[in-house]
Every structure is written in C-alpha cells, then in structure tokens.
Assembly symmetry: C2
Homo-oligomer: 350 residues x 2
DNA sequence: TCCCTGGACTGAAGCGCTTCACTAACGCGC
DNA sequence: GCGCGTTAGTGAAGCGCTTCAGTCCAGGGA
C-alpha cells in the first residue's frame, strides 16, 4: 500500500524500494494525526479516545495494513497473557483437546502457543521453547517428564497437567478417573463370563500407573487375583503388537485383554486378526480413550470414553485462575469416564 | 534497573517473597561482573569473549536460572528467525510433517511456532496469529484459503504451501505428484479387470482438483471415459459415509472406488462393511495418503503413499532459502508418490 | 469570579535484548 | 619507540510497544 494520500504522509509510508518495512504504531499515529499513546490505547480497547478519533485511527491502521506486534507488547506490558500448550502430535486423542483450549483461552483474553514434542524433539525442549516465549501458563497434555522437573517448572510459570496424576500438591492436575474406567471395563468383562483377563499396561506413560492399580484392585474385588496378568507395554500400536505376540507364543490365551489405551488395543487387534484369532469369539479386547478410530466399523472397539471437552475447559480455567489469583492450593480435578461397549467384547469362550 | 552494584547483588537474586522477578541479562552481567553486551554476545555464540569469561557468565546464568527472552531478542534484532506452521489438528497425516519441520528448522537456526485451525478457530485467524508473532516464514499445511488471500500474505511474510497446487507463480509450493498417484491407482485397478471405477472427490480440499483431473485423464487413457463417475465429497470420513450411501441407493455398484483420501476411504469402508458388501470381493477401494490407519490389518487399505519427510524438508528449505535470498522465482516442487497395494483391492467381480 | 472535575490527548521512560561504534591493552615487525 | 592489527571488552542507542504522569480545555458549581 503506497502513498495514497497527501504527500506529507508519504515519508512514513514509502518503503525503501520493495523492502516492506512493517508499519508501526508510530506510522499509524502519524497518518491519523495523533500520538502513539492514543493509538496504543485504542488498540488495547481502553477508554480515553473519542469515537470519532477511534474510527479515524482504525481506518489509518487498516490502510497501512498495520498489525500489532505481540513481541513488543509483551515486552512493554511485562505480561504476555499467553498460555503454552505442550502436545504430542501423534497422540490423536489430544487433537480434540486443542480446539477447546483455543476457544476457552480466547474467551478469557489469552493467547495460545503450541509446542509439540516429536521424535527429534524431546519434551524438555518443547517446554523450554514455551517458556522462552514467556508463556505465563503451561498446559501439559500427558507429559512424560519426571515429577521433579515439573515441580521445578512451577516456579517459572503456572503449570497444569492434563491426563496424568501427580503426587499430592505438586501442580494443578485435570484428569479422568482412570480407576473408574478400568473398573467398569473389568465389571463388563466379568459379566460376560470372563475370568482370565490380562492387562497390557502403559509403562510410564501418562495415566498408566493408575490404570494398572485399578486393574489389580478390580480383579481383587471379583476374587480374580489368581488370574491377574500384567504385560508390560506402552501407549503405542507397537506395544500392542508386541504384547499380542507374547500372548500368542504361549499355550493358552487369556479370554480377554485390557489394553492401556486405544492405540495399544489396535496393535493387539491387528496381530490377532492376522493370526486368525477371532475377536471377540476367541478373545475380547477393551481399549481406553475412545479416539476417532475406535468407532470405525472395521475396528469397532469397546473402550472407555473421556470427556475431552471438560478436561480442556477445566485445564484452561485452572491455569487462568491461578494466574489471576495466585494463592490457591494445587487442585486435582477428576472427571468421570464411561465405558462404550462395541464389537470387540463378547461372552468368554468356553 | 536499580542500582545494580555492590549490595545490589543480593537484591537482584533475592525475590520479593514469592514473587519471582524473572532474571534478565543485566542480572547475569552483574553477577558475572561483566557488561550486558558481553553476556549478549555469549548467548548469541558470537566471538569476542575469552573462554574463561564465557564459562563464568554461563555459570552465573545457570545459577540464576536465567532464560533468554525471545520477545526482547526478536524486538531488538528486528528479525525473528521464526517459521510459523499452520496445521489442522485433525489431519493426522500432518503429524509426521511436523516432526521433520522442527528438526529441519532447528538445524538451520530457526524457531518454529505452531498454530492450529480448529472448528472454533478458522484458518484465517490461525494465520493472523502467526503473523502477529512476527513469523518471517509461513508454512501452510494443506490450507483451504482462497488463492487471493494467500497471495496477499506473500507480502507480509515468505509463504510456502504444502500439499496443494496453486496457480502459477503465486507462492512456493511443495506437493506430491497427485496425478501420478491417481494414475497408478487406476492402472492397478484396470489390471485387476475393473472398468466401472468411480471417484469420490475432495471438493475444494487441498490436492483434490488435481486428483479429479488425473482420474478423468487416466480413465480416458484406458478408453473408459464412458464409465467415469465423480461423486462430490470431501476429505473426511463423513463424506465417505455419504458417498457410500449414495452408491448403495443405486441399482448397481461400481466395481471399484477411488477415494479422495484415506479418511474418505475409511468412511466408505465403514458403511460397506456394515452393509455386508464385501471389500474387495464386491467392490475395491483405494485411498490416498497412507496415513497411520491404512496399514492396520483391520483396515488394510490400498492407498497412495506420500513422502512426508521429503515434503517437510523441502518446505522448510524453500522458506529459509527465500528468506535469505529474496529474489528467487516462486517454485513448485513436486515429489513422486507410490501406490501401496494392500487388502482392499482385488479382481473385479464378474 | 475562581476552582475543580473529567474527558481527550501527549511526552517520555522503560520493558530485555542486540548492535554499532568505541576504548584499552597487548603483542609484533621494523 | 612507533604504528598497526587483534582480542576483550564497554556504552549507548534503539527495536515497537505500554503506561505513568501530566497538559489543556471545556463545563459546572460556589
């Protein structure tokens, strides 16, 4: 947008041959014939400018293609009003959370920055990136880091952990009552006549220890402690594949398997199907998460559904709440899940 | 800054009861007994400090828990060295791209910022966010925006579009040779004896127009123009579901369907399976993308695989290349895909 | 008349960093 | 003993914004 106005303004607008200098507030101010201060007020929606001036300034900004510079604002304000969200791109379950987080944060006037952990980029690094962008609040979706590290973070920013239980009072946590989900699954299987129910756990993955404990407890409640069988795993398809191979290599399959999550369940399903083990005829399988795949008819997985929207909403509210009012005790918010029965579970084989 | 000297040492470090003032370069400088300038040099890995001093400064920084402030750096440098990546959280295919993008950008000394489009947050907004964080380069993964808008963006930042062809010379693009992928699919089906091959297209979704054209061309080459059948759709499971219902409502099914992408294929598969239409006995299905689901044995989808790593790597290189050397012509980089034959295609029914 | 209030607006300082232009000290060759 | 180039280091300006402390000018009591 070149000098489309009185030549007096031209200097501020003309840019050195092709090199577009990004317009600043000063440019807008000059063009609208007011001070930078006033422009700033207007862009922050603060009172102090007449409606007439306000319009004139906004129009000038528009003509120049002006865009506020967050970095500068952040620096000047000393506050960023930004929430950093740690995600794991491969955990599809998190996709739903993100949408809600954006919406909720925006409503409260906060920015959101995403940082993904990936094979080439460990969680630590992803979090540091968020911190160096001055995020005031960190929302960590299923973080794998050690508790000590998370606790350390807590005095650099407000930390909220989603989907993982943490020792008492470390930081705010929002999660699903994993124990209940597992208990429902076991109850369901027992009702169908299963007794030999194995569990492929998720190792150190978020939620896993709780699920494992809940499995043990539920089995005990049904007097099935003798049939307890925990196969070490992870929350990945590969772990499911490995577990299935382990089971197939033995004399006798259990009649049902509780997977650590959906992805693991799908790994199991995959191997069993290829090996012509009928699911649920020969063996029943239960997942956890109710991700987008679970409901596909070719998969049709019995699984435990989490209230993703609730999780996300509360995570944001915790973060913001603590930001605006520091002296709350760390909270642990727990949402009930429920079992979704589909085609991978059926009566125990004889 | 206060009188940062003698007694100030203590002041800089002690924080006013709980309220952690984040340490700055000045704090580090004071503690190490050097100037701020020198600290800055050291943190930018520039020469001009002796090894001995360097160590001392780094140690001081460490003791203070100092963390560089990107916002300030960005402001001061006038350059952000940041690439903004637009993603769609639900397009699982993109997850793989992201990992590579991070790695590649980091190697070149660039930061990466992610911004997701979501139901509550349209693409436009997601892109503006990136811009206001001063991203110098924008990498748009399968953007849906109109060409004009994308062109407009190009003079605010360096733009690279991934996975979508754009009219000549608009901006840099990196994409798969969709035409080839489709041609391979059609050839494969024809070899299996198929003649009635329908195509569920992706409407305006990225890559879709190319795929549709390629389908028409391939059918023509096989003298099958009479059997051409395009069913309007989208790159989602729902579109596949709808298309399947459309087909089932007719007298006679085609013997094969080319879906716009894997997700659409899975929708088709889902409905056919529930309707007891045998795949591939009654009808063959081909997808596109080879996403994580395609290879699951319960799905086992014949599909076209894209070289995600190559796409991501070139996208980053384009962006950076143009950033460091402005006067290149817009490029259109095309990578060959290849057909992965799995279980959803078979001989045409009699 | 004078003082006060409040609305509209401005000037200047400062956020934490980079960078340009310097200075001081130290060989080194002649 | 002089100028020279290097290395190690410093001071200050300035990036684009916010914000504190004013200024200026109605209009309204008393």
């Amino acid at each position: 947008m070149l000098d489309d106005r009185a030549t007096a303004h031209a200097d501020a607008e003309r840019s050195p041959a092709g090199l577009h200098r990004r317009p600043t507030m000063a440019d807008v101010a000059t063009r609208a014939g007011v001070s930078r201060t006033l422009v700033s007020l207007i862009f922050s929606n603060k009172p102090g400018a007449s409606d007439e001036t306000r319009d004139r300034v906004l129009q000038a900004a528009d003509e120049l293609g002006y865009r506020l510079d967050r970095a500068a604002r952040m620096l000047a304000r000393g506050r960023s009003r930004t929430l950093g969200v740690l995600i794991d791109v491969h955990q599809t379950f998190q996709a739903d959370l993100i949408g809600t987080i954006y919406a909720e944060a925006e409503a409260a006037g906060y920015e959101v920055l995403l940082s993904a952990s990936a094979p080439s980029r460990d969680e630590h690094k992803a979090i540091e990136a968020l911190l160096s962008h001055r995020c005031e609040g960190l929302i960590l979706l299923g973080p794998l880091s050690e508790v000590d590290y998370l606790r350390t973070l807590a005095d650099r920013a407000v930390v909220t952990v989603v989907g993982r239980a943490l020792p008492h009072g470390a930081v705010d946590t929002v999660r699903t009552a994993d124990a209940k989900g597992i208990r429902q699954s076991v109850d369901h299987l027992v009702e169908l006549g299963h007794r030999e129910i194995a569990h492929v756990d998720g190792g150190a993955d978020p939620g896993s220890p709780e699920r494992r404990r809940a499995y043990l407890a539920a089995m005990r409640r049904h007097d099935l402690s003798d049939h307890v069988r925990v196969i070490p795993g992870q929350h990945t398809e590969e772990a499911g594949v490995a577990a299935a191979h382990t089971l197939l290599a033995e004399d006798r399959l259990p009649t049902a398997v509780l997977a650590g999550n959906d992805r693991c369940a799908i790994g199991l399903l995959d191997v069993f199907t290829r090996a012509h083990v009928d699911v649920p005829g020969d063996i029943s399988i239960v997942g956890y998460d109710d991700g987008p795949l679970a409901q596909l008819s070719r998969i049709d997985l019995t699984t435990v559904r989490q209230d993703t929207e609730g999780l996300a909403r509360h995570a944001v509210q915790f973060a913001i709440g603590r930001l605006e009012n520091d002296d709350l005790d760390p909270q642990d918010f727990v949402i009930d899940p429920h079992l979704v029965v589909r085609g991978t579970t059926g009566p125990a084989r004889a």
